[in-house]
């Protein structure tokens, strides 16, 4: 069945409530973004999510949406904490996959002469690619501390600064984490992989701030034009995958307990208050904390490598964390719905939190400025820093987009890149790339993604976050 969208305004489209849908679907996009071939499959998934119990207001999708497993990627859905469900498919396999951005006090001309040495050193010293193991070897009891305390664990080990915690979503730790809800298999995988980037679309990137759209906010975030930045994209590695898979299996096994029909097995879920619902929430929180610790470790090592190669000390490098966001997560949050405050479970799968100035969850100086939203683009174009808005609180449970969003499947991208040297094309643009996987570069080439600027213009236009700065990549390490 083809789903026809009803235009609400320039940036919102409704999927009308039909059949088993409990609420309508709302797709955020500009008309030019709605031409991707696989959109129909994603629309069906938005409609499927709308059938789940306890869903509030609407099943939403951000402009970088594309089809995923169960929930679409770019999906946002909030469920009532008392009467709603929680779903591993609404979070994704890579729990707390996210992005972290740091600023330096250097400009491009100070880094360019040593850029090749720098990208080589990062590539050689940051474990990446399939099967890589980390620089941090964890004992079983250390691992439990990582799962319970996230970024705090890393900072206590001297892998970062206390100030980093204020500049990490939720301080880099979800409080409900309980390692006893994690399987031996997940623990096993987690012990070996802390401090590894991973493969696929995960990356480490040196960039330059090449446009500022909002001077005051940029200054508040510590960004200035021409500034060299470091961004990394990684998640909870094998541990997160195992947690997702374990709970998908469990919830499928128990799906007969649900009093409704699942539109898709990958939407397997449990009532939040049920034993298995709470177990998943606690296990997912552990994986989220692991991911924050992982990014904290990775960023700290990157900083050391940069100091080494450039031959400068911490003072001259001026390295500081701007922010760390997660974009695959389910959160317990309080939102105002029809004038009343309500505790909800917000699923953001390929979507980023976008909290406005004044929100009590924001720490340090960001309480006044608003939350930085980091939106990485493909490796040849640009990335953006946005700021959260009040309108996001009103419309999208404080959520916005997470990246460019795929338009080509990995196989299609590989086909489209035949006969081309993606690495040379990027080098011609002044971007140095190092990678491990045989097909990583073609699968991740710029043409495989939507134009991130169009995605960002759509969320800016819709008012669910506001443009602050644009970054241009100059060196990329891919897993």
């Amino acid at each position: 069945m083809t789903i026809a969208l009803k235009q609400i305004d320039d940036y919102r489209w409704e999927i009308p409530q039909t059949g088993d849908m409990r609420v309508p679907g709302i797709v955020y996009a500009s008309s030019s973004l709605l031409t991707a071939e696989d959109s129909q499959e994603a629309f069906t998934q938005v409609a499927n999510v709308a059938t789940l119990p306890g869903i509030i207001k609407a099943s939403m999708a951000m402009p970088d949406m594309h089809w995923g497993y169960g929930f679409p990627i770019g999906g946002v859905a909030a469920f009532d904490w008392e009467s709603g469900i929680i779903s591993p498919g609404g979070v994704g396999y890579d729990i707390n996959c996210g992005v972290r951005l740091a600023g330096t006090s250097l400009t491009e001309s100070e880094v360019r002469p040593k850029l090749e040495a720098l990208v080589n050193a990062l590539y050689q010293n940051i474990p990446c690619g399939v099967g890589s193991t980390g620089s941090v070897k964890l004992s079983a009891s250390d691992e439990k501390q990582v799962l319970k305390t996230g970024s705090q664990w890393a900072v206590r080990q001297g892998l970062g600064e206390e100030a980093d915690l204020d500049h990490t979503e939720d301080g880099g730790c979800l409080p409900d984490a309980d390692p006893s809800e994690i399987s031996e298999r997940a623990l096993d995988r987690g012990r070996k992989q802390l401090g590894t980037l991973g493969s696929g679309n995960h990356f480490l990137e040196i960039g330059v701030v090449d446009a500022i759209f909002d001077q005051d906010t940029a200054r508040g975030f510590g960004l200035f034009e021409g500034q060299v930045t470091v961004m990394l994209h990684s998640g909870s590695r094998g541990l997160g995958y195992q947690v997702c898979d374990d709970y998908l299996a469990l919830m499928n096994k128990l799906s007969h307990k649900l009093e409704f029909r699942l539109a898709d097995r990958q939407l397997a879920c449990a009532m939040i208050g049920s034993e298995e619902g709470m177990s998943y929430f606690r296990a997912m929180s552990c994986a989220a904390n692991y991911a924050w610790a992982n990014r904290q470790v990775l960023m700290h090592h990157s900083k050391r490598i940069i100091e080494n190669i450039l031959g400068i000390g911490p003072k001259n490098l001026g390295f500081r964390l701007i922010y760390d966001v997660c974009h695959n997560i389910a959160k317990k949050e309080v939102h105002e719905i029809s004038g009343k405050t309500q505790t909800v479970c917000v699923h953001r799968k390929g979507a980023t939190r976008s909290f406005p100035p004044g929100h009590p969850s924001l720490l340090g100086n960001y309480r006044q400025i608003g939350q930085p939203v980091i939106v990485p683009g493909d490796m040849g174009t640009a990335s953006y820093v946005l700021v959260g808005t009040e309108k996001a609180m009103v419309e999208t449970f404080g959520s916005t987009c997470h990246g460019a969003g795929r338009v080509l499947s990995r196989t299609a991208a590989k086909k489209a890149s035949k006969g081309r040297s993606i690495h040379r094309e990027l080098e011609d643009k002044g971007i140095l790339v190092r990678w491990t996987g045989r097909s990583t570069l073609s699968e991740e080439m710029p043409d495989a993604y939507k134009d991130v600027s169009q995605v960002v213009d759509a969320v800016h236009g819709a008012g669910i976050s506001r443009k602050v700065a644009r970054l241009r990549p100059i060196a990329v390490v891919k897993g």
């Binding site: 499959e41 497993y69 396999y93 096994k253 990958q266 499947s409 196989t411 045989r438």
Partner: protein, 137 residues
């Protein structure tokens, strides 16, 4: 042909064939590892028993491939041979032989990260059994 790729609409999908259920499940497991690495170069090492259950054939297929994938993602072992000993509604027992993956000698083809329920299908056809499985890469 024991399987073919059906990628256009998915990142990595396979359509697997078998003359009976035993054959289908064996071939699905072999297809999974054929996608991961060049299995012929891997030396066989140990044998393991594997037992899985499911709520129907499709669920059994996902659980079976999940269990096999764990040999790779959890232990870096490549499954080389599979013998399904017994299969009935809805459980199976099998013996598999595995070999260690050596990054210096063996080429990795695809990093299969998970076996999904997306579009999962196990069907009885006039000429045997067939399954569609979408793998997360």
């Amino acid at each position: 042909m024991i399987y073919r790729r059906i990628d256009p609409t998915a990142d990595c999908g396979i359509q697997v064939f078998g003359k009976d259920l035993k054959g289908l499940f064996e071939n699905a497991g072999l297809a999974l590892f054929d996608l991961i690495a060049d299995v012929s170069l891997v030396k066989p090492g140990f044998e393991y028993p594997v037992q899985v259950t499911g709520s129907d054939w499709a669920d059994l297929m996902v659980n079976w491939l999940r269990e096999l994938l764990h040999f790779w993602s959890g232990k870096e072992l490549i499954v080389k041979k599979i013998k399904v000993i017994e299969i009935y509604e809805y459980q199976l027992s099998a013996r598999i032989s595995v070999g260690a993956f050596d990054a210096a000698k063996h080429r990795l083809n695809h990093e299969i990260k998970a076996v999904t329920y997306h579009r999962i299908q196990v069907t009885n056809t006039p000429i045997g059994w067939e399954a569609i499985v979408i793998l997360d890469v």
